[in-house]
């Protein structure tokens, strides 16, 4: 298939395959018993960009939290390259630098310079000395086109730049998987489209598995190899779509025929869930 990472220059990635098997998450099992994730099954190949699409508050983030190790699952199993991260017996995985999260509102430490933020991971893990880590951080930032802001604090640069720095900070640890939780939600759509290209550029260089949560169908189809459209609460895949637009992609894809066909194909499924969530949201309000 033309959309597979195997076609990319530099050989196929071999690590970072995630398997989600029958995962169930129930909040407050004794009392209110809200089911957030319902028997969710999903296979993500090594080096694949997998987009998770669903209305806000549908339980996508719960899934991400389970992989990252912030929350426990109720039952099921999640494996990374065959190794069990969490299962019914051991419901909570340990957060680690092989699965780094980029947060919705950004979590660059405002009290550290951008450079020190990027260098943070290896220093904490004791992998590199402070000087070495900084050196590596500088060159990684330069590669990502981020020179000129190293000695500024995150609060001094625009939000688009902050997001790119955060992704570089994650990649500093040479992770198997990048977990992105609606990272561009707060950006305006033009900046967003530039950010998408920047993300792809970084991806082509590193080919790390990407687990990307979004509620924007266009974003999902533009970036992903695979798009999983989730149902509104409780969350489970409603439709899994393989995007057969060849990589590398640029913004021209957005107006291509195939792209529009894919949007058309999936629009209805997404719209249906959106209306469902919209209405239940109104009721809650």
């Amino acid at each position: 298939m033309s959309g597979q990472p195997g076609k990319l220059p530099g050989g196929a990635p071999t690590r970072g395959a995630i398997r989600i098997e029958d995962v169930v998450k129930i909040y407050d099992p004794g009392g209110a018993s809200v089911m957030a994730v319902d028997h969710c099954n999903l296979d993500i190949a090594a080096g694949e960009i997998c987009m998770i699409v669903g209305p806000s508050g549908c339980g996508k983030t719960t899934l991400l939290n389970a992989i990252a190790g912030f929350h426990e699952i109720t039952s099921g199993r999640i494996t990374l390259d065959g190794e069990v991260l969490c299962s019914t017996e051991r419901p909570k995985s340990t957060p680690g630098s092989d699965r780094v999260v980029v947060f919705q509102n950004g979590a660059l430490f405002p009290w550290k310079t951008n450079l020190d933020n990027v260098a943070f991971g290896p220093i904490m893990q004791g992998k590199l000395s402070k000087a070495e880590a900084r050196e590596k951080a500088l060159s990684m930032m330069a590669d990502a086109g981020l020179n000129g802001v190293e000695h500024n604090f995150p609060g001094e640069v625009s939000s688009g730049v902050r997001r790119r720095i955060e992704i570089v900070r994650a990649l500093m640890n040479d992770p198997k998987v990048l977990l992105l939780d609606e990272p561009y939600r707060a950006l305006d759509s033009l900046t967003k489209s530039v950010m998408h290209e920047a993300l792809l550029e970084i991806y082509y260089k590193n080919k790390v598995t990407i687990f990307f949560i979004t509620h924007d169908l266009e974003e999902a189809i533009f970036l992903g190899h695979k798009v999983a459209i989730m149902t509104s609460r409780p969350c489970k895949p409603k439709k899994i779509l393989t995007v057969d637009i060849p990589h590398p992609r640029d913004y021209g894809v957005l107006t291509s025929k195939r792209f529009r066909e894919l949007i058309e194909e999936t629009n209805e499924a997404v719209h249906e869930e959106a209306v469902k969530a919209f209405q239940s949201g109104e009721k809650e309000g």
Binding site: P55, S56, G145, L146, N147, G148, V149, N152, E156, V157, S158, G160, V161, R185, A186, L187, D188, S189, L190, T191, S193, V194, T214, H215, D216, L217, E218, E219, Y251, L254, T255, R260, I263, E264, N267, V270, H271, E273, A274, V275, A277, F278, G281, E282, E284, G285
Partner: protein, 290 residues
């Protein structure tokens, strides 16, 4: 409910001409020109959409159009008369909700008539009509914080429309809503516009939103803001989202606009340090407060 039930004056006028407008902010040698020799017309009864990279000075233009600030050079004319200050003729709907948090939905909608001392039976009837129209009947006694994002925006549209402005100016009104709610809001808003036929000026950074809504599209350059291109979107109304996705004309417009915008966005992006635009935005916010 149809229009003949409502006591609603017909809007007939409202054309804005922006002629050679420039505006700068900042002190002494740190000053920056945000808007430069801007020239365009917002035609009567049409929905004009302005799109440009974020922080390019679109909000400055809105403050100038609304009359909160005045241009350093050039003129802004409303039906041939220069703009002298804020007025109910040109109503602004803000980016993110500016509903008064201390008033319920109902009080918010009635704010305009009450402030002008025009709170009569007719106004109440119109408010009731609008409340139904935006589907917030059951939420009239709720405070804004109790409404979802989409409902807040609808309440805000109702609060604006009760004043029967000649021109509605909307500054990225759907920013921050999630993509799905946003799409529902577009159809909703387009519907309101098509019914009223009044002049609308809509500012956005979202290309899909722009193409879907616009009669005429103004594409702006990066800071300092100028009009880079004008595209007439001659897709027939009423428009539906599903149709727009398949419309070749809409797609052609999108492609054309995207090419220009991408170039502009890249320009602002290539500078790593806090963009000049951010500085100006921040400065404007600060000076507006002081």
């Amino acid at each position: 409910m149809t229009d003949n039930h409502v006591p609603r004056p017909v809007v007939a006028s409202g054309e804005i001409a922006v002629r050679g407008v420039s505006k700068s902010y900042g002190e002494a040698h740190l000053s920056r020109e945000v808007v430069k020799d801007c020239d365009f017309t917002i035609e009567r009864g049409k929905l004009t959409v302005m799109i440009g990279p974020s922080g390019c000075g679109k909000s400055t233009l809105i403050r100038l159009l609304a009359g909160f600030e005045f241009p350093d050079r050039g003129q802004i004319l409303l039906d041939g008369q220069p703009i002298k200050g804020p007025s109910r003729d040109r109503l602004v709907v803000f980016q993110e909700s500016a509903l008064f948090p201390w008033m319920t939905t109902w009080e918010n909608i009635l704010y305009g008539p009450r402030a002008r001392g025009e709170l009569n039976a007719q106004a109440l009837e119109f408010a009731e009509f609008l409340l139904n129209k935006v589907g917030l009947r059951e939420f009239r006694h709720k405070y804004p914080t109790q409404l979802s994002g989409g409902m807040q925006r609808r309440a805000e549209l109702a609060r604006a429309m009760i004043n029967n402005p000649q021109i509605m100016i909307l500054d990225e009104p759907f920013r921050g809503l999630d993509a799905m709610t946003k799409e529902l809001m577009w159809e909703y808003y387009a519907n309101l516009y098509e019914e009223s036929g009044r002049t609308n000026f809509f500012v956005t950074t979202d290309i899909d939103e722009a193409v879907f809504l616009a009669d005429r599209l103004l594409i702006m350059t990066n800071i300092p803001t100028q009009v880079r291109a004008v595209i007439e979107v001659d897709v027939p109304r009423p428009r539906r989202l599903a149709d727009m996705v398949t419309s070749d004309r809409a797609n052609a417009v999108k492609m054309e606009a995207l090419a220009i915008l991408h170039e502009e966005a890249m320009k602002s992006f290539s500078r790593g340090s806090k963009a000049a635009a951010d500085f100006v935005e921040a400065y404007a916010r600060r000076s507006a407060k002081a």
